[in-house]
C-alpha cells in the first residue's frame, strides 16, 4: 500500500475508534471515489455501517470484499469485526481458510483460521487446522490445541454419545504423541488427566501423578489436585487417600476441609453395600483413629480453626448413618461443645445445620442446651451467641410450636433484644453492618410466617416497618433490602420495591442472577400502556449483560488458547453458554415483550421482528442462574422457606412458564406474520443459533404441545389466558393460512425495499414481483362461529376481578386486569391482518370480520369496567384513612420506632399502590380507545 493512501486511511481508524461512524463513512466514500476496489477501505466502510445499524448496506459491501478473497492483515482484521457484528461466524471461517490456503506458510493466518473455527464452535475443523499447523510449524502448543478441540467436540451436546469415547481416545493418542511429557506444564497436565479420567485409564493417570513432577504440580495447583482427588475416588482408593490426607493435616497443618472429608471417606470405605463383620471391625478401628486425630487437632487449634471439631461432628454423623456409632451421647455432646466454642461466630448456625435433625430425647436435651445459654447482650460476642441460639432453636420448632401466639411472642423477644443490643454498634461507621441485624431479620422471618399462617396483612406491615427501621440503622444490610423487595411486591407497592432494588447497586453479571427480584411477572405492575417505561427500561438495562457476554467472553476463550490455559477453556465455554441461554434472560425478554405491545402500536414490523427473535429463543436449552439462596431464611424446617413464602402469587416461574408464554406468542405472531420459514431463511443475516438437539417434531407440533408440568407453573389466571390464546389461534388459523401471501411475493417485496435503500438488489433472491394481491386457487375456508371460549374468558375474568378487587392488597386485581388486557391485545394481533379492507374483500372474509365485533366490544366493555374499579381503588389508597389504617394495623410504635416513622412507610406503600392502580387503569382506557374499532 502506498504511504499516501496509508496516511489517508489513518483518520478512518481514528473515527472508528472514537465511535464517529458517520465521519468514518464520509472519509471512506471519499477514498472509494479514487480507489473504488480497495478492499481495506471497503471493509472499513462496512464496519462503520454495521456499527451504525445499516445492516443492508453493510451486507452488500461485505459480500463484495469476501468475493475478492483478501489476505492482508488489515483487511482481514477489519472484516473479522464486520462479520462478528453481523453474527456471520461461518463466513469468517471461509474467509480465513481461503487466506490461509493462499499463504500456507503464514502462521498467524493459521492461528486466525483456528480461532474463527473456535468462535463458531466448529470443533472438528478446529482440530484439523491445529493438526495441520502442528505438522507444519512443529510447535507443541498446536498439538495441544488439537487435543483440546477433540475434547471440546466430545463435550458438545450435539455430539452423539457413541462418538464421545472415540474423540477422547483420539485426544489421548494425540497427547501421548508429544515429545515432551504433559507434566512440563500444569495446564497441559490438567488436560491430560481430564482425558485419562474420562476414559477410566486410572492406572496410567496414577503413573503420571506419581512422578516427581506430577506430585509437585498437585502440591501447588488446586485444579490438578482436584482431578487427582477425583481419580483416587473413582478408582476406589479411599483408604489410601485418607492416609495421605491425614499426613497433610498433621505434617503440613493443612486445614482444607476437603482433606478432612478424605480422612472421613477413608474411615467408611470398607462399608459399601452389605458389610461383613470383618469390614465393620476394620471400620471401628479406623474410626477410633480418626476420632483421636480430630480430637487432637481440635485441642491444638482451639478457637483458631473449626476443622477439628467439625470433623468430629461429621465423623459421628456418618457413623450413626452406618450404624457403627459407639456412643449414643456423643453427637449431642459434640454439638454442645461446638456451640460453646464457636457460638460467637456468625457462621455457627450454618455449620451445625446439617446435624440438627434430632429427635426424641436428643432434641429435648439440645433444646435445653440452647435455652440454658446466656441471653446477655452486653458484648458483640454475646449478641452473636444469642442470635445463633435463636436460629438453632427456631430451625427445630415443630408445627405444634408454631401457633400465632408463640410466633408473636418470638417476634416480640427478637425485637426487644434487637433494640436492647443496638447501642453496641453506636460507634460503627455507616459502612459497617450492625451487630444485631440478624435479630431484625429473624423477626422479619417470623412476621412473614405469621402472615402465611393467617393471611392477615398487618404482619406484612410489621415486617416492612421493622426491616425499614433496621435498614436505617444498618445502611449496607443488603439482606434486609432483598426481604423488603419481596414484601413490598406482595403488598402491591412496586415503586417501593424498585427503590430498594436500585439501592442494591446490582451490576454486570449480577443482573442475570438478581434481576428476578424485580422483573419476575413485572408486567403486572407495568405502566407502559400509559407511557411510563420504567419497567421496560429496567428490562433493557438488565439485558445489557447478555450483549457483553456475546461480544466479550469469546475473546477470553481465544486468550486462554494463546496463553495455553486449557483448564479454563471448557469453563469459559460453559459460562458463556449459561449466560447466553439464561432462563432469566428470556423471562426478562417475555416481560419486555408483554409491556412492549401495550405501549407501541401493534404493527406487522413489530410482529415480524419479535417472531424471529422468539423463534430463536424457542430453540434454546435454558440454564437457570437465578440466585434465590441470597435471601436469608430462618424459617423452621417444618414450614416453607422464606423464598417460597414470599413469591408473588405463590407460583415460581421457571422453564414451564417461559415455554408456555413463548408458545402463546409464537403462535399468535406466526399467524399474524407473512414470514414463513422459507422467507425467514432467505432474509436471515447472521448464522442461526445452535439448534436444540430435540428436533424430532415440527415447530407447529411443538407449539401445540402443552405439557402438564409446564402449565403447573402458571397461575390459574395465566392458565385461562393460555386456553383463550389457543382457542383464538385454532379458530383463525385456516383464514391466516389462506390469506398469507406466498413466499415468492414476500421475498420480492423485501428485495424491492432493499434495493430502494441500498441501490443493490438483494442477494440470492431473484423473483419477478407480481402485481397486486395474489388470489389463491382454492376457495376461502368456510367461515366458522367464534369459539365460545373467547367470550367466556372475558366473562370469567370479569367475575374473577369482582372477587379479588376487595382483597387487602391489589396484586390479584392487577394480575387479573393486566391479563385481560393482554388477552385483548392478543386478539388485536390475531385480527390485524383482517383490518385491511382490500384483503377482506378479495378473500370474501366479510362474514368473519363481522364475528370479531361482539368479542371486541365485550372485551372493551369489561376492560373499561375494570379500569373504573382500579381508579376507585386508587382514589381510596390516596386517602389519609388508608394511611391511618396501616399505622393502626402495624402497631409497632415504641420509643425507638415513632409514629412519624411508621406514617412515612404507610405513605410510601399507599402512594405506590395508588400510582400503580391509577396508571394501569389509565393505560387500559387508552388501549381500549386505540383498538376499539
Amino acid at each position: 500500500m502506498s504511504t499516501a493512501l496509508d496516511r489517508q486511511i489513518r483518520p478512518i481508524y481514528d473515527a472508528l475508534d472514537t465511535g464517529s461512524n458517520k465521519s468514518a463513512i464520509v472519509a471512506c466514500n471519499k477514498l472509494l471515489k479514487k480507489h473504488p476496489k480497495n478492499a481495506l477501505v471497503q471493509s472499513l466502510k462496512a464496519l462503520a455501517l454495521v456499527r451504525s445499524q445499516k445492516v443492508e448496506e453493510a451486507l452488500a459491501l461485505c459480500d463484495e470484499v469476501l468475493e475478492s478473497k483478501p489476505t492482508d492483515d488489515s483487511t482481514l482484521n477489519a472484516m473479522m469485526h464486520v462479520l462478528r457484528g453481523l453474527g456471520r461466524h461461518k463466513d469468517m471461517i471461509i474467509m480465513y481458510e481461503a487466506a490461509y490456503k493462499k499463504q500456507p506458510a503464514n502462521e498467524e493466518l493459521g492461528a486466525q483460521t483456528f480461532f474463527a473455527n473456535i468462535r463458531a464452535n466448529n470443533w472438528k475443523s478446529a482440530q484439523q487446522v491445529a493438526s495441520k499447523m502442528y505438522k507444519q510449524f512443529q510447535e507443541e502448543r498446536y498439538l495441544y490445541w488439537s487435543v483440546i478441540s477433540s475434547v471440546l467436540q466430545a463435550n458438545d451436546r450435539n455430539t452423539p454419545a457413541e462418538m464421545r469415547t472415540l474423540l477422547y481416545k483420539l485426544a489421548l493418542r494425540l497427547i501421548t504423541s508429544s515429545s515432551t511429557p504433559s507434566y512440563a506444564h500444569p495446564d497441559r497436565f490438567h488436560l491430560h488427566l481430564t482425558i485419562l479420567r474420562e476414559l477410566s485409564e486410572y492406572d496410567e493417570a496414577m503413573t503420571l501423578l506419581e512422578t516427581p513432577a506430577g506430585r509437585n504440580i498437585c502440591e501447588t495447583n488446586l485444579s490438578c489436585n482436584e482431578i487427582r482427588r477425583d481419580i483416587m475416588r473413582l478408582r476406589g482408593a479411599l483408604e489410601e487417600e485418607g492416609k495421605r490426607a491425614e499426613q497433610r493435616i498433621v505434617e503440613k497443618n493443612d486445614r482444607n476441609w476437603l482433606e478432612f472429608l478424605s480422612v472421613i471417606d477413608g474411615v467408611f470405605s470398607s462399608l459399601q453395600d452389605e458389610p461383613s463383620n470383618d469390614a465393620k471391625e476394620q471400620c471401628s478401628s479406623k474410626l477410633s483413629n480418626a476420632l483421636e486425630l480430630f480430637t487432637k487437632i481440635s485441642e491444638q487449634d482451639g478457637k483458631k480453626d473449626r476443622s477439628g471439631l467439625l470433623g468430629l461432628l461429621e465423623l459421628e454423623s456418618r457413623a450413626r448413618k452406618h450404624g457403627v456409632s459407639t456412643d449414643s451421647t456423643r453427637m449431642l455432646h459434640l454439638m454442645k461443645q461446638y456451640f460453646e466454642a464457636f457460638g460467637d461466630k456468625a457462621c455457627c448456625f450454618e455449620d451445625l445445620k446439617p446435624y440438627l435433625s434430632l429427635d426424641g430425647e436428643d432434641l429435648a436435651a439440645w433444646t435445653d442446651v440452647l435455652q440454658a445459654s446466656s441471653s446477655s447482650l452486653s458484648t458483640v460476642n454475646a449478641v452473636r451467641r444469642v442470635i445463633n441460639s435463636h436460629k438453632l432453636s427456631r430451625y427445630n420448632l415443630s408445627p405444634s410450636q408454631l401457633t400465632v401466639e408463640a410466633e408473636s411472642s418470638n417476634a416480640s423477644l427478637y425485637i426487644k433484644q434487637y433494640l436492647e443490643g443496638l447501642p453496641l454498634g453506636d460507634e460503627l461507621p455507616s459502612t459497617e453492618l450492625q451487630h444485631v441485624d440478624d435479630l431484625a431479620i429473624l423477626a422479619g422471618n417470623v412476621f412473614v410466617n405469621i402472615w402465611k399462617m393467617t393471611g392477615d396483612v398487618q404482619y406484612l406491615y410489621k415486617a416492612a416497618v421493622l426491616l425499614e427501621f433496621a435498614l436505617g440503622k444498618s445502611k449496607q444490610a443488603f439482606q434486609m433490602r432483598l426481604m423488603l423487595i419481596r414484601i413490598y411486591r406482595l403488598l402491591g407497592a412496586p415503586s417501593a420495591a424498585l427503590e430498594h432494588y436500585r439501592l442494591l447497586n446490582v451490576k454486570q453479571v449480577q443482573n442475570d442472577t438478581l434481576s428476578h427480584f424485580i422483573l419476575s411477572r413485572c408486567s403486572t405492575f407495568s405502566l407502559a400502556s400509559s407511557g411510563d417505561l420504567t419497567y421496560s427500561t429496567e428490562c433493557l438495562e438488565a439485558s445489557q449483560i447478555y450483549i457483553s457476554n456475546s461480544q466479550e467472553t469469546n475473546d477470553f476463550v481465544i486468550r486462554a488458547f494463546s496463553a495455553e490455559k486449557y483448564s479454563q477453556i471448557p469453563q469459559f465455554i460453559t459460562f458463556e453458554d449459561w449466560l447466553e441461554n439464561s432462563l432469566q434472560r428470556d423471562i426478562t425478554k417475555l416481560e419486555y415483550l408483554r409491556m412492549r405491545i401495550s405501549h407501541e402500536a401493534i404493527s406487522s414490523e413489530v410482529i415480524d421482528l419479535e417472531l424471529i427473535e422468539l423463534k430463536f429463543i424457542f430453540d434454546r436449552l435454558h440454564h437457570d442462574n437465578r440466585d434465590f439462596e441470597i435471601l436469608p431464611n430462618y424459617q423452621p424446617k417444618a414450614v416453607e422457606d422464606f423464598n417460597t413464602q414470599t413469591l408473588m402469587f405463590a407460583k415460581p416461574e421457571g422453564h414451564g412458564w417461559v415455554w408456555s408464554f413463548l408458545k402463546a406468542y409464537i403462535k399468535a405472531f406466526s399467524q399474524a406474520s407473512d414470514l414463513d420459514d422459507v422467507v425467514e431463511e432467505k432474509l436471515l443475516v447472521g448464522d442461526r443459533p445452535q439448534m436444540s438437539p430435540d428436533k424430532r417434531i415440527s415447530l407447529k407440533e411443538r407449539l401445540s404441545e402443552r405439557l402438564e408440568e409446564e402449565l403447573a407453573e402458571l397461575t390459574s389466571d395465566e392458565l385461562s389466558l393460555m386456553s383463550y390464546g389457543d382457542a383464538l389461534a385454532d379458530w383463525l388459523e385456516p383464514f391466516h393460512d389462506h390469506v398469507r401471501p406466498p413466499a415468492s411475493v414476500v421475498l420480492a417485496e423485501a428485495a424491492k425495499q432493499t434495493e430502494l435503500k441500498t441501490g443493490i438488489p438483494l442477494k440470492g433472491v431473484d423473483i419477478v414481483p407480481q402485481n397486486g394481491h395474489v388470489k389463491k386457487e382454492e376457495d376461502t375456508p368456510p367461515i366458522s362461529e367464534a369459539p365460545e371460549a373467547l367470550a367466556k374468558f372475558f366473562e370469567n375474568m370479569k367475575t374473577r376481578f369482582e372477587d379479588v378487587k376487595k382483597a387487602t392488597f391489589p396484586n390479584e386485581a392487577l394480575h387479573v386486569a393486566t391479563l385481560t388486557q393482554e388477552a385483548f391485545l392478543l386478539f388485536v394481533i390475531e385480527t390485524l391482518r383482517f383490518k385491511t379492507p382490500s384483503v377482506v374483500k378479495i378473500h370474501k372474509l366479510g362474514n368473519l370480520v363481522a364475528k370479531f365485533k361482539p368479542i371486541r366490544s365485550l372485551a372493551v366493555g369489561i376492560l373499561k369496567d375494570m379500569a373504573t374499579s382500579l381508579e376507585n381503588m386508587s382514589a381510596q389508597d390516596g386517602t389519609s384513612e388508608k394511611r391511618k389504617e396501616f399505622v393502626d394495623l402495624c402497631a409497632l410504635e415504641c420509643t425507638e420506632i415513632d409514629h412519624d416513622f411508621i406514617m412515612n412507610i404507610a405513605k410510601k406503600v399507599t402512594d405506590s399502590r395508588k400510582k400503580v392502580e391509577e396508571g394501569v387503569a389509565k393505560g387500559m382506557l387508552k388501549l381500549c380507545s386505540t383498538y376499539e374499532q
Binding site: L258, R306, Q508, V509, T513
Partner: protein, 183 residues
Amino acid sequence: MSILRPFTASDMFNFNNINLDIWTETYNIGFYLHYLSGWPDLCCVQEAPSGRMMGYVLGKAEGQAQEWHGHVTVLTVAPEYRRLYLARKMITLLELVSDETYRGFFVDLYVRCNNIVAIEMYEGMGYSVFRRVREYYGNLGVGKGGRDEEDAFDMRKPLSRDNGRRSVRANGRDIVVSRHDVS
C-alpha cells in the same frame, strides 16, 4: 474450616453474598476472565461445607527481572465469614504458588494507608511497607481521612528467591512515589 478450591468462571453466578457487600466491587465479566485466562492458579475460593462461597482471591504475576512477583489484586471475604482467618489461608496459597510455580521474588498488595486493621494483619503475615503510592485510590481531593485515605501502601513479603531481601526496607513508609510510577 472451609474448602479451598480454584475460582472458576461460573463462580460469577454465585458470588452475590460476597459482592453485594459495599467493600467488594463487581467488575465486568472481562475482568474475571482476564485473571482466569492469565493466572488461574493464583485465583481461588474459600467455600463453606454447605457450598456457599465465603471469600475469594484474584492474583497475577508481573514485573521485569528482579521485580518479577506475585500480586494480590482482589482479596475479599463475605461479612458473615470474617474473623475466621480465611484471608490468611488464601494469601498463603498465593504465596506458595508465586514462590514455587512462578518463581517470583516477592508478593505484594496495596492497602489504604488508613486501614490500620488490614495493615496490622498483613504485618502479622510477614508483609512490610515497601513504599507509599500517592493518590492510588483516586485523586478526588483530600477527604475526611486525609492523605491516608487516598494514598496506598505497597506492602511486600519476600519469597525464597529474594535472597538479598530486596523487597524489604526499613524506611518504606517514607518513600513516596506517584501513582504513575506503579503498574
